[in-house]
Each structure stands twice: as C-alpha cells, then as structure tokens.
Amino acid sequence: MTVSPVVPTTRYTPPPRGWYKRNEIAITPWLFLAPGVLFFLVYVIAPIYQSFGLSFYNWNGLGDVRTNGEYVGLQNYNKLFGLNGERADRNFQISLWNNLKWLVLYLLAIPAGLFIALFLNQTVRGIRIYKSLFFFPFVISQVVVGLVFSWFYLPNNGLFTIMTGWVGIEIRGGVLGNPTWATYGIIAAGLWPQTAYCMILYLTGLNAVDPEQVEAARLDGAKGPKMLWYVIIPQLKPATFIAFVVTIIGALRSFDLVSIMTGGGPFGSTRVLSYYVFEKSLSERGLQYGYAAAVAVILFLIMLVFISYFLWSMYQDEKGAR
C-alpha cells in the first residue's frame, strides 16, 4: 500500500516585504547620491546662479546684497563693454586680450608634450626614472613654479636675463617688469608644468598604440613624419582630447601664476579675467562685488562654450557605449 505524501493545503506566502525592500533598486541610487549631490548643489551649482544675480547689483560686500546693494540692471555689463553711453573698461579689455593670448599659447603644451613623449618612448635602461623626472614639474604647486620663474626673470641677476644678454637682447625692467613681455613670461612658466601633463597623457597613449598597425605601415614603407601623422596621431585621439580639455581649462584658470609673479602688473598689463575678478572684489583696490561678478559671468560664459563642447563629445561616446 502506498501512502501519498501529505500535501499542504495552504499555499506558501512569502514573508511580507516592506516598501523599501520592494523598491530597493529604485531607491538605493538616490540614497547613495544624496550627500554628494547636496554638497555639490550648495557649493558649486547654487553659487553660479548667485553670481549671475550679483552681477545686476552695485554692492560693496557689506551686509546682504538685497538690503545693502543697489539694483542696477545691466549697468555693470554696459560699463564692461562700453555700451549705452558708458566708457568701455580698458582693464577689462586688457584682461580679455591676455586671456586670448593664454588660450592660444597654452595650446603649445600639446605638441610640446607629444614631442617629449616621442623622445622618451624607448625602452633603454633607466627610462622609467627619466619619464617620472620629466613629469616632475606638474607635481609642484604653481606658487613654487611662479616663484622660481620670477627669479629666473630677475632684472640684472636672473639667469634668463643673463642668457639673453649673451645674444645681445636686453628687455627693459626684466621680463616681468616689462609691459610688453610680462604676460609671455608668465605663460612660459605655465607651459612648463602643462607640457609635463600633456607628455604623460601621450606616453600612456603611445603605450596603447597597436603595434601590428605600426608594423603593417612600416612594411608599406611609411616612416618618420608620415607614419606619425597618418598612423600614430589618429590612434592618439583620446589622449589629444584629454590634453585639449585640461589645457584649455588650465589656460582659463591662470590665477596663481599671475598673482604670484606680477600681481597683475606692471601697469596692469598681465591681468587676466580670473585675476581681475579677484582684484575688483577681494583686494584692497576692489570692493566692487557686483562689477566683479559681471566679469566672472563673462569668464564663465567663455568657459561654457568649451564645457558644452566637452560634454557633447562625452555624450557621443556614452551613446556609443550603450
């Protein structure tokens, strides 16, 4: 006789799950995001809007803008550009022009970095130490870089001044004391660490170049500059993109060097927008917070052009990845 197994009459019900358990996958990312996003909103996103608002006021920085400041609409911008019967701000024009010099000349760091990377992309003994020592300038603070270069440029006793003296070039007042040359002197100082950064990006990129393609091209008779231009550089595109991004941002952030090396001088000839904002608000000559905010907004808008391009490129990549 067979005994059939006892079949339970009630069906299994899973233990009741709470609301959180049921929605866990939807809720978790927001819990993880909350602290980071909150911090970022308070300290980065909100201040951008506040600066925009500030740029429509005259305010000396005391008390609150809305009670102590005076709403002046677009007047600050009119002053900057010389619109509506205002006289254009000469110092703003100098800063803008210098920023353009920075942007263009700073890009030299990219080919210079590629050049050094190509020079160092060998496998001789001790090359790793050479690579890291070439990268060295990037690790040092811009404050120290600025100090060192300003000693280099000292009138009479600076090494640079002595060396240019050998070939009979004399720069009056030393590089940093000369309104024509000072900005170029500062840019040269900035190019030093920036080139090191681009170099390390390209060294990493060169490491990943497909050796089979290089060999194939070599068999086809490509070499030297042709090989570089048609085979290597296209493969270095991601490295070039990053180098471009960091160089543009570095150029527009050029505050430290200007502040350390010349403080905007001589005769205000080395001002850049980032320094001018600081000068108009927090320095003794400043206390025009609304006006400074208007300059900051212009700088932000210039940067926004590049940011949009960067984000657009990254978005194209993201779409490709999905």
């Binding site: 990268f135 000693w151 390209y202 060169l206 907004v297 993201e318």
Partner: protein, 282 residues
Amino acid sequence: MFPTPVQKQSRAVQLGYQAFLPFALILWLLPLIAVMIFSIKPDVDFTSGNYWGWPSSFEGFNNYGKVFFESAMPRYLLNSVMITVPTVIGTVALACMTGFALGVYKFKGNLLIFFMFIAGNFVPFQILMVPVRDLTVDMGLYNTKTGLVLFHIAFQTGFATLFMRNFIRALPFPLIEAARVEGVAEWRIFFYVVLPLMKPAIAAMAVLIFTFIWNDYFWAVVLTQGPESQPVTAGITSFNAQYRAAYHLMSAGSIVAALPPVAMFFLMQKHFIAGLTLGAVK
C-alpha cells in the same frame, strides 16, 4: 612601437640617445635645480651677485634650520596636512557613493546628474568665489580649516565622481547581478562586492586629490588669512614677505612646501598616473 626603438638603430644612434637623455633632463629641470642650489647657498652669495654660480659655502643646514625653527612654516605645513587629509577622506567617501549610484543603476536623470558633476568640475573658480565666501562667513567658518575643507570636498567630488563612475562601469556587471540573485541587499553589494574592487581607483583618487588640494592657492587666499589656518601655499607668500630678497631662505621654504606632494607622487606613481591619464586610452 613608435618611434623605432633605438635598439634597432646603429650603435652611434644608441650612444647618442643615451648621452642626450641626461642632458635633456638637466635642461628641463633647470629651474628646479636652480632652487635646490639656491637653498644651500649663504646669504652673502646673493649680495655679492653670485646668483647662479657655485655656492661659496654650504649653508643647507642653516637655511633649512631657519625655515623649520625660526619661521611660521611648520605651522603652515601642519595646517596643510589638516586641510588636505580630511578633504581626501571626505571626497573619496562621497565619490565612491555617487560613482556607485551612477555606474551601477539605470534610472532617469542618471546621465544628467553625471554631466552636472563633470560640468561643475570645469567651472572657473571666480564665479563661485563671492557666494562661497559669503556662505562660509555666514556659517561662521571664515578663516577656519573646516570652511576650506567643506568647499574642497564639494568641488573635488565632481572630478572624483567622473573617475569612480567610469571605473565602476568597467567592472564586470555579472558580479553584481549574481549578488542580487543571491538576495544580497543593495547596500551590502556596495560594501562587500564593489568597494573591495575599487581599491586601485581609491588609491589613484587619494593621491591626485592630495596633490590638488595641497597645491591649492586660490581658495586658501579667498577663505583664510593668517597663520592659524592658512595652508603652506598661501603661507609661503607671507614667509617671503618676511624674508624679502633672502633668496636662500625663500627657496628652502619653497622646497619644504613642495616636498609632500612630490614624495606622494614618487611613492604612488603608478596610481597617480593612472588617475591623471583616465580616458587617454580607450
């Protein structure tokens, strides 16, 4: 490999390359070598105009001794440590969480939040300057290390999130799915599955942010003043004002100020470069 390895070239080229390497390096690092020599020179070399020649006597111990025992430099260094270390810890903690959320989950607004972090990271500091300063003053944190740390954490979270998210994206996703099938809670997946795999990313971020924050000058000037809270980058300018034209002391001070990130770089070189070259290779 490009360019052609020197080993495949003639003996003359090989020797020429080997000989040129140290020469190029000295030329490249000339400014640094100059400060190093400056820092061991006696005072009299500068008054007598011997700026770039050989030191007339070795005064290294004297100069560095003065920096360490007769100036506010140790104070500034300590401040820098007390600003940098909490910032690194805070940023890495926040960015691990945001990176995990953005890298693992698919939800509406994911890409938007991610792009907000990236864009914010590129913004010029000056547009944040006055509002951040006011906010810090309102919180009673002006001229405190805490005020500086809070801002740095917030700002660096942007860059760190970009890095962490891309790193997590590259991890094998089936690992997380397997854990889910096993019924592991999501926060446990973060702690026990993802976090252990993120060690290299955490190391890279930690050294990079250490260097960035240690070298920060702008925010130090905007949010602090005086030796009780200023970090070494800002301190060095008042140090220099104290020893105006005393180049031997200024260079000794600069070297002391620059040393910690340099040491960090040489100790953790692999991670440092991995962090900096993120995205340079597809």
